[in-house]
């Protein structure tokens, strides 16, 4: 017993020594490399090989959002020759902040990329500690104003790209409204409802829903009565496919012809429910007709609302290489820049009549030209 206790004790001591050794390194980091890094940052060499690090608060393999970000990294590598790497922090929330902190403290990158609403508070705090580095955020920005203790330096070293998912969702809403009004989807005749399985009840997700409902209303069907909305919630809202499936099944039972998962990996449960009920689904973020392997599941996906995180990151990298990327303020890209949209593939051609395709195109023109302003969940 005694031996065991002392072994435990010495382990604890050793561990705390290691930790203590690490601790001072973090705050010191910004000061030391500032000198060595400065020349690189100041000379706007177009061909300079930058090191880009993507830190994900999840894992790859969601066939949707994070995988799209990863494709962006690969494009940055192949088109600009940058050194890229991706760190997956997993779905345990407790590991996100320390993981990001470690990633930011390391001196193996020039640009650190993180995304999602969940990471904004951490970036707001950590980015100002590393003023010599650049940070990019996608899908949500830091607290630039520093109102609630975030961004002590107004996040002058943070670039943010926001996707106007409300615009893409508006197009999808137009499409679904028309499809249900037409009522010709095989096996779903007479069904006028559509379900949305959201990950969690927060602004980015609600932005999809608000835009979708506005587009849906264009068809003349009442969005309040016909659009069912439910969130996965819980501990891992974006990685609970079983719950996603359960919710989707209950939506189909209530008369939904189509269910749209806006919930990362949880959305993969929606496709299974669609197969079982022999009804339809919609994909999100990536063209899920292409990313899903199971042929039966693919067949249910009429289209996907694309949120081209990959293109957004590549575009940022190119602008950055030319020295034209604007830091210190968020930038939002929408339908007009093809940052969001809906996927055109075999299934889309199969289920959507030419007539409706024309209506969707007209809606695209309206949004792209600014003739229609799509509502947003963001104030």
């Amino acid at each position: 017993m005694n031996k065991r206790t002392s072994a435990l004790f010495s382990f604890t001591v050793a561990a705390s020594l290691v930790l203590a050794a690490c601790a001072p390194a973090a705050p010191a980091a910004p000061a030391a490399p500032a000198a060595t890094q400065a020349p690189v940052a100041e000379t706007p060499m177009a061909g300079a090989k930058k090191r880009v690090k993507l830190v994900l608060n999840g894992t790859l393999g969601d066939k949707s959002f994070f995988d799209s970000a990863q494709r962006g990294m690969e494009m940055i590598k192949s088109e600009l020759g940058y050194e890229v790497r991706t760190i997956e922090l997993g779905y345990d929330r407790n590991k996100w902040e320390p993981g990001l902190e470690d990633a930011a403290a390391a001196d193996d990158y020039d640009i650190l990329i993180a995304g999602t609403f969940d990471m904004s508070a951490y970036i707001s705090r950590i980015a100002p500690q590393h003023p010599d580095k650049k940070f990019w955020m996608f899908d949500a920005g830091p607290d630039y104003e520093g109102k609630e203790g975030g961004c002590s330096n107004k996040c002058e070293n943070v670039y943010t790209v926001l996707f106007r998912q409300n615009e893409g969702s508006y197009l999808l809403g137009v499409l679904v409204g028309e499809l249900l009004k037409e009522g010709k989807l095989p096996g779903a005749e007479g069904r006028t409802k559509v379900g949305i399985v959201g990950g969690a009840d927060f602004p980015v997700i609600n932005d999809f829903i608000v835009g979708f409902k506005q587009g849906f209303a264009e068809s003349g069907l009442d969005p309040e009565a016909n659009v069912l909305v439910q969130y996965v919630g819980g501990d891992s809202p974006f990685n609970n496919p079983a719950k996603g499936k359960e919710i989707a099944s209950s939506m189909y039972d209530q008369g939904a012809a189509i269910v749209w998962g806006v919930a990362g990996n949880s959305g993969n449960g929606v496709f299974e429910a669609a197969v079982e009920k022999k009804l339809y689904a919609l994909g999100v973020d990536s063209d899920q007709y292409q990313t899903i392997a199971d042929p039966a599941q693919k067949a249910t996906i009429i289209t996907s609302m694309l949120k081209n995180v990959d293109q957004g990151l590549l575009r940022a990298a190119k602008l950055d290489a030319e020295g034209k990327l604007v830091y210190g303020a968020p930038e939002s890209v929408g339908v007009a820049a093809d940052a969001v949209g809906i996927a055109d593939n075999e299934n889309y051609q199969k289920f959507v009549s030419k007539e409706i395709q024309e209506k969707v195109k007209a809606a695209y023109e309206r949004v792209a030209s600014g003739a229609v302003k799509v509502d947003s969940a963001f104030k």
Binding site: G58, T59, L60, G61, D62, K63, E88, Y91, D201, L228, Q230, Y231, G233, G234, D235, S236, N239, N240, P241, A242, K243, K245, E246, I247, S249, S250, M251, D253, Q254, N265, N268, G269, E272, I292, A293, D294, P295
Partner: protein, 315 residues
């Protein structure tokens, strides 16, 4: 409110309850057998996860759901035997060993999936098999009962049949009675010639088998792929169900159904205009309420026992 009641009393809701209860009930029965054998098995979560993963991978490799089931169950039993070896032979603390198994399962399953598919999220890139859904002739056509009882996954039926089997095993067979004797008082059991270690090995192996069935159901019935940490705490909810059910098979089943109903209710009510956060609390509130009720009942029982004891002393 009316709408809510309509939802609760619909056949689809009750069918959903059975579906959601299955992956709680099977590991709960497993945990019960171990508990009565005198070993607290908190590795149910890890056993389920391993079985869920092995089942999917083998079903992909062989394109047979039955071989997948077999592999899942074999892996589950193996994990339980590892736990038994550490605890019974090497005298490791059973709680620590079980925690180690849970962590090992969480990491190793996704590691294997990553090696095979290059994907760290799930096996949704693979086309895996599913256990069959059973349409029962005749019963299928009974109006209200049909959609509830018929058309469930094979393993859902197995789960409810297992309740009876476990009860018969524990109370009506020699092995079951020996097992409970060991759990009650190992020294006394040893004194009458029962091999305590063998009984506890048996208890853990059985708990591994039942938990593994729950795991296989998750990845090859409830959904059709394995996802990282997909058990999502069901192994621990199962433990709560055992104690809530007063450590009896029937009680455990009722407790599992309560948890299942709470979970299913949170899904169904989410469609109505009830605040979302409130709905998501339901399973957790149900757990808390159930534990409080259990604790109060226990206290009443203890007080009654004490009173009886005093009376006996007085006379």
């Amino acid at each position: 409110m009316e709408q809510a009641l309509q939802v609760i009393f619909s056949a689809t809701f009750i069918a959903a309850v059975l579906r959601v209860t299955t992956p709680i009930l099977l590991p709960a029965l497993g945990g019960l057998v171990a508990e009565l054998g005198g070993v607290a098995n908190i590795a149910l979560e890890g056993i389920m996860l391993t079985a869920a993963c092995a089942g999917v991978l083998i079903s992909v490799a062989t394109q047979s759901e039955w071989l997948g089931l077999l592999a899942g169950v074999a892996m589950g039993v193996l994990m339980a035997l590892v736990l038994a070896f550490f605890h019974l032979n090497l005298k490791a603390d059973v709680i620590l060993a079980a925690i180690a198994i849970n962590i090992l399962a969480s990491g190793s399953t996704i590691f294997v999936v990553f090696l095979l598919t290059g994907d760290k999220g799930s096996t949704s890139a693979l086309v895996s098999k599913q256990m069959p859904f059973v349409e029962i002739p005749l019963i299928r056509d009974i109006p209200l009962l049909g959609p509830i009882v018929s058309g469930q996954n094979l393993l859902t039926y197995v789960a409810f049949i297992a309740v009876a089997l476990v009860a018969v095993f524990l109370y009506r067979t020699r092995a079951g009675i020996h097992l409970r004797a060991v759990g009650e008082n190992p020294e006394a059991a040893r004194s009458v010639g029962i091999n305590v270690r063998a009984q506890q090995y048996l208890a853990l192996a059985l708990s591994g088998l039942l938990a593994a069935l729950g795991g296989v159901y998750l990845s090859m019935g409830y959904v059709k792929f394995f996802a990282r940490d997909m058990t999502a705490g069901r192994g621990f909810i199962a433990l709560a169900a055992i104690f809530l059910g007063g450590k009896t098979p029937l009680g455990t089943m009722i407790a599992a159904l309560v948890f299942g109903a709470a979970e299913a209710l949170s899904v169904q009510l989410g469609n109505l205009r009830v605040p979302n956060q409130l709905v998501q609390m339901i399973p957790y509130v149900a757990t808390l309420v159930a534990l409080v009720v259990y604790a109060l009942a226990q206290r009443q029982r203890a007080i009654a026992r004490q009173r009886k004891f005093r009376q006996a002393q007085a006379t």
